[in-house]
């Protein structure tokens, strides 16, 4: 029990949220905001792996999100509902209850494969040039989707709401909230383990000095593959979850604008700080909601905040430190699961 305190704490927190949601004690709006917070945590912490820990500048995260969103949505609609293009359900609609996480993961895998579009070029180029490639990948994905009429093209794709309804018909719990909580926790947990292992720190060595990393025994290509696939896979996961909240997606959601939003969260939180990314995702989502009444002016205020941030605290909220570095007492709760493997020598 002691070893996994943080995990238990998160499980208790998640159960509390689910209970509160199940008993209609939270407004639908508050639930929605909570769900967006989860998704933003996945997005920002996974992008931090590339932009923070590995020191590349990826600005196409929304592209991978789109791949995950579309693949998992199409799978679910095809498998569990009747659709004018895909025909009657292939499997019994109620089986969505346990197959849903698998279709989400399938979306994540597809996004991870799309990540190869950036990973392979990254063997030869980096910095600004790679940034442009990520931008291009974002456009390629968006334009491809726009041009496939079978999945709605620019009009978008829907029908995922029905999948969730099928699941709720089997067992009335807030399914989508449940899976957002599970996958948000999982993402942060996996990333935490990755970046605190000697294996994962290989990507920090690449950031610090790629030539020295390669010459001192780090297979930099393999590490880049791992990092890009992990990061884009997680973005795909976030996309899949996102698609099932409203039950409707369109390519216009996954533009450079969305990628920029994620980047803002990473820089706000601090590059190379996982807890920074989590904090800033929470903060950013809330700020976005608070500023919602401003409508379009919101997109003047937010960039302005970003400029101020870059002027006064360019390293973000946390810099490259973790919460446990700032408040060592937190270690009791969250570093316990590091076991004796990662304590200071």
């Amino acid at each position: 029990m002691r070893r996994h305190r943080g995990l238990w704490l998160y499980a208790a927190f998640s159960l509390a949220i689910l209970w509160v949601c199940g008993h209609e004690m939270l407004t639908a709006y508050a639930q929605l905001v909570l769900m967006f917070i989860g998704i933003n945590i996945i997005l920002s912490s996974s992008l931090n792996l590339i932009n923070g820990y590995m020191g590349e500048f990826s600005c196409g995260h929304a592209g991978f999100m789109a791949v995950g969103a579309y693949v998992s949505s199409i799978l679910n609609v095809w498998l569990f509902t009747s659709h004018k293009v895909f025909g009657p359900p292939v499997l019994s609609p109620s089986s969505a209850v346990y197959l849903f996480p698998l279709t989400l993961l399938a979306g994540a895998c597809a996004a991870a494969l799309a990540g190869l579009l950036v990973a392979f070029p990254s063997f030869r180029t980096r910095g600004d040039y790679l940034a442009i490639i990520t931008l291009a990948v974002n456009y390629i994905v968006k334009s491809s989707v726009e041009n496939i009429q079978a999945i709605g093209g620019a009009r978008g794709f829907m029908g995922m709401r029905k999948v969730i309804e099928e699941m709720e018909a089997v067992w009335r719990i807030p399914w989508i909230m449940l899976w957002i909580l599970v996958f948000t926790g999982l993402t942060v947990w996996v990333l935490h383990r990755f970046v605190s292992s000697s294996y994962g720190k290989g990507i920090v060595a690449i950031r610090d000095d790629e030539i020295a990393a390669e010459i001192m025994g780090v297979d930099t290509r393999r590490m880049k593959l791992a990092a890009f696939m992990l990061s884009s896979g997680m973005a795909g996961l976030a996309g899949g979850l996102f698609a099932h909240i409203l039950g409707y997606i369109n390519p216009g959601t996954f533009t450079i604008m969305k990628s920029t939003e994620v980047m803002v969260m990473v820089y706000l939180g601090g590059m190379g700080s996982l807890s920074g990314s989590v904090l800033s995702a929470v903060l950013f989502t809330l700020i976005l909601e608070v500023l919602r009444p401003l409508q379009v002016i919101k997109w003047v205020v937010i960039p302005l905040l970003l400029i101020l941030l870059m002027l006064w605290r360019p390293e973000g909220i946390m810099g490259d430190r973790e919460l446990t570095d700032v408040f060592p007492r937190l270690r009791r709760w969250f570093s316990a699961d590091k076991g004796d493997v990662h304590g200071a020598p």
């Binding site: 990755f194 000697s198 020295a212 990393a213 010459i215 001192m216 025994g217 290509r221 004796d340």
Partner: protein, 258 residues
């Protein structure tokens, strides 16, 4: 079987011939020096051996295997490690992590083990950390374990680079001007360290050095490079008297430091 055998190694940078027809047979346990004026091609030879450049021509055999064209991390995995003329440590990681990451190619676990924290991960990671701790201890860096390398005194950074190379458990250690920028006290210590490392790790050491005091006191054999060509090869005393070597160094004060 020679540890390292280089035959007719030639390398061009565009039209510039940086290394020309370089030959070497290095037996296990030797301590070989490589000297020459600035721009002679010494570092380029190291870069070719460690796989950073693919030679224009020639063969490099390490333990009878052709390593020319292998990627650097694979060469390191075979047992060749090096330090850099301009210190190249990972500066946002701790000294301790620098020593752990140098064991990356033989971690013996993968992403799945990291995520699931398998038994293999725990035992291997513990081993990696123990190796790093031992190196900190024997290289006198224990005190700096959690520091960032950039905060260390210059001499200590050079020591850390050597420690990091040792963390890969090499059979052949390449040192590129390990004494550069050191004060006389640090140089004496370095000479001690080099001797001691060779004894206790049973290593073969190949070093580039401008400080003749270091070369003369530790090397058993010295090769001299000038404009990419090998102009002399022999014991240090003979090298010092060789007219071609003196000629090559004419105008530079370096030999007089001896």
């Amino acid at each position: 079987m020679a540890l390292l055998e280089i035959r007719r190694l030639t390398h061009f940078f565009g039209g510039l011939r940086a290394v020309a027809d370089f030959n070497l047979r290095l037996e296990g346990g030797e301590l070989l020096g490589l000297i020459g004026p600035n721009g002679a091609g010494k570092t380029t030879v190291f870069n070719l051996v460690c796989g950073f450049y693919k030679p224009t021509e020639g063969d490099i055999f390490f333990l009878d295997k052709d390593i020319a064209g292998l990627r650097p991390h694979a060469v390191t995995a075979m047992g060749i490690a090096r330090t850099f003329q301009n210190i190249r440590l990972w500066n946002t990681l701790s000294v301790f992590d620098n020593l752990c990451i140098a064991q990356h190619f033989r971690l013996g676990y993968g992403l799945g083990d990291v995520v699931l924290r398998t038994g293999r991960f725990v035992t291997r990671e513990r081993h990696v950390r123990r190796t790093a701790e031992e190196l900190l201890e024997i290289m006198g860096l224990r005190h700096y374990a959690q520091e960032r390398p950039g905060n260390l005194p210059y001499g200590m950074q050079r020591r850390l680079e050597i420690a990091r190379a040792l963390a890969t458990q090499p059979k052949l250690l390449l040192l590129d001007e390990p004494a550069a920028g050191m004060n006389p006290g640090e140089i004496d210590q370095l000479v001690e360290t080099i001797r001691w490392i060779r004894e206790s790790f049973t290593l073969t050491i190949w070093l580039i050095e401008h400080h003749m005091r270091v070369v003369m006191s530790v090397c058993e054999r010295v090769q001299v490079l000038d404009f990419g060509q090998t102009i002399a090869d022999g014991p240090p005393e003979a090298i010092k008297q060789d007219p071609r070597v003196i000629q090559a160094y004419l105008g530079s004060e370096e030999l007089s430091h001896a």
